[in-house]
Symmetry: C2
Subunit: 377 residues, 2 copies
């Protein structure tokens, strides 16, 4: 078997023990509440990874039609494409629908619904549609009390080649929460607002089979998710520095890292230069506004042990610059030329997107599996 | 032929007329100064693109060994891998060297040189090595006056299986310049400092065949590049909002854009929501510190005409939020559901890295070519 020392750098590493614990944590929450879990596979976009946290026939959420095709081809039948449908993608849907009968798209405005209604006669079987609801003034979605929500649902329901399936929301506002209380408040709000949307539709005679909400911070906020019957979340499987910074996990829970090699120093500036730049780590600086700015990632030794205070301060395309928060001199024992380090990602979805595969290890640092990943659209 | 209207979004578009003009601009500079041009192919990583600005047998610069293999396999023989060599990559070099005899690696410290010296007997023919010099206190490199520079050069020269080729630098500090005078000063400084390094080596009896420097901002600073015999630059072929913000080009010179589709609105906030998020645009916010923050990109209509004041203010993975600087209401004629827009990238190297191909168009908006791209390491 290949040892981490033998890999060419940079490489994206999954600590399978941590990964499994993270997957179990979310499963436990959903089971305890008896809510269906529909993992978002957009972080890892990998069938082998999904085998652990979303094994078929579990429902999944995807962020691209490429993911939808990839999961459909592997036997997944209940796939929610959770980005408002664009008219130029309509012609791609039927091929997915033919192999995944519960393939579902979303819309959040009457023009998008009308585009679906107009195109619907070309589907070989009814396409499921959910309506996106805005619960926290964060991104897309119809307001729960809007007339347009009802009009959209009616238009879908009145179209034989479409199947109205329910309402969904993403509580992205939870990423702006700075403590547990705020996070719990948003979790309550997302459930309250999405179930209110379902209630509004019910009053117009339209029933929602699925009332779906979630984000990793709200799913793991430690509150009851009353009023929904489906929980969606994605980044929990690996976590990252943003999730740790928001208090959703500990830094030691982060199951993803980028393997990198020290290629030089600037001794007078206490810089260690590594071969993981933004091409490997991504340009995400999502902790910049949190209480601790982790730059482009926190630094661990090859064993995955955090090297306290060391972080990637700056990046170029293929260079990372590691410094200590207190600007101390990098000890030669930890930071000599050729030494291997592991960088914990700021945002796992962005970092993993820079790779086409993951090297899976446990404490022995032997690569037990290589998981593939689907990129693109 | 396919028209831009027919493409699924997001897609990465190259305006071939602007692209050719940009390529010609750099060629004119190098020709006028009679300096060898070694384009950096890391922005587009595409043989079909390189056909225009770095046709074989021109020397090229690459940022990964994957690029080196890709260009070597297409007949390029003079390939500079411009990232300090890591020991775990040594075993990959000989395969490239066998097809690209002037394949060249770099080092900026005696430990890296020693690793090369130790490994050198395993090369089937002498491997060319250049030393990286720090001219602007920006990233990697040896100081021109350092004893270590001389020691490294001697160690390379004394190793039969290595071939000392010269000195190189990247004037990354030019990205911090805020006006033409500063940029010209850095351009002078980079030439002065790298030629001083070559001079130092000469005094120790070591000659540099190649004295290489460059960055797009310094190459196009409008100064004579005295003391160097090779100019390197990359992003000039497409330019981007950072380059426009630095005054190196006009916004209308930017030859790359991301095709995207409007999927919704938040009317009360004057938001237009499109299907290009950070997965397509990248997380790069390189204009945040410039006089005009372009967010995640400037917005054009499908023809590539800039829609003044409109920019991508925020992104999620597959969502972009377009606003106007003055928070005006998006006119329905420009921003209705389903309409196609083009986003000018903040940083072309980062945006293009999110794609595996480019759709090449001219003013007619017909896709005349599809160029492929090599990602990974």
């Amino acid at each position: 078997m290949t040892h981490l020392h033998q890999l060419a750098t940079p490489a994206c590493i999954i600590d399978v023990d941590k990964f499994k614990r993270n997957c179990q944590r979310m499963r436990t929450v959903a089971n305890a509440e008896n809510i269906s879990l529909r993992p978002h596979v957009k972080t890892l976009k990998s069938l082998q990874a999904a085998h652990y946290y979303a094994p078929s026939p579990m429902p999944v959420t995807v962020s691209t039609l490429a993911e939808a095709r990839y999961f459909a081809s592997a036997g997944y039948t209940d796939i929610l494409y959770a980005v408002g449908i664009a008219p130029n993608k309509l012609s791609q849907l039927d091929a997915i629908l033919k192999v995944a009968e519960d393939f579902t798209v979303i819309a959040d405005n009457i023009s998008a619904v009308q585009a679906l209604v107009d195109y619907a006669p070309q589907f070989s079987q009814p396409l499921a549609v959910m309506l996106e609801v805005d619960v926290d003034d964060h991104r897309a979605g119809l307001l729960p009390e809007s007339d347009e929500l009802v009009a959209c649902a009616k238009a879908i329901q009145n179209t034989p080649a479409l199947r109205f399936r329910g309402v969904m929301t993403h509580a992205g506002g939870s990423y702006d929460c700075r403590n547990t209380e705020e996070r719990q408040a948003i979790a309550h709000q997302e459930c309250q607002r999405i179930s209110f949307a379902a209630e509004q539709l019910k009053q117009h005679g339209i029933s929602c089979d699925v009332i779906s909400a979630g984000s990793t911070p709200t799913a793991l906020a430690g509150v009851s998710h009353n009023g929904i019957n489906e929980l969606r979340a994605g980044v929990y499987a690996t976590f990252d520095c943003v999730m740790a910074g928001l208090g959703v996990c500990e830094v030691t829970d982060i199951a993803m890292s980028v393997l990198t090699c020290i290629i030089g120093h600037q001794h007078n500036k206490n810089w260690v230069i590594v071969d993981a730049g933004w091409m490997a780590l991504s340009r995400d600086q999502g902790t910049a506004d949190l209480s601790q700015d982790c730059g482009y990632g926190l630094v661990c030794d090859i064993n995955g042990e955090l090297l306290d205070g060391w972080y990637v301060k700056a990046t170029n395309q293929e260079h990372g610059i590691i410094c200590h928060r207190d600007n101390i001199t990098p000890p030669e024992t930890l930071f000599s030329y050729g030494q291997i380090l592991r960088i914990l990602p700021i945002h796992a979805c962005a970092t993993s997107a820079q790779f086409t595969q993951y090297h899976v290890v446990n404490k022995s640092l032997e690569v037990s599996q290589v998981w593939s990943r689907i990129n693109g659209w």
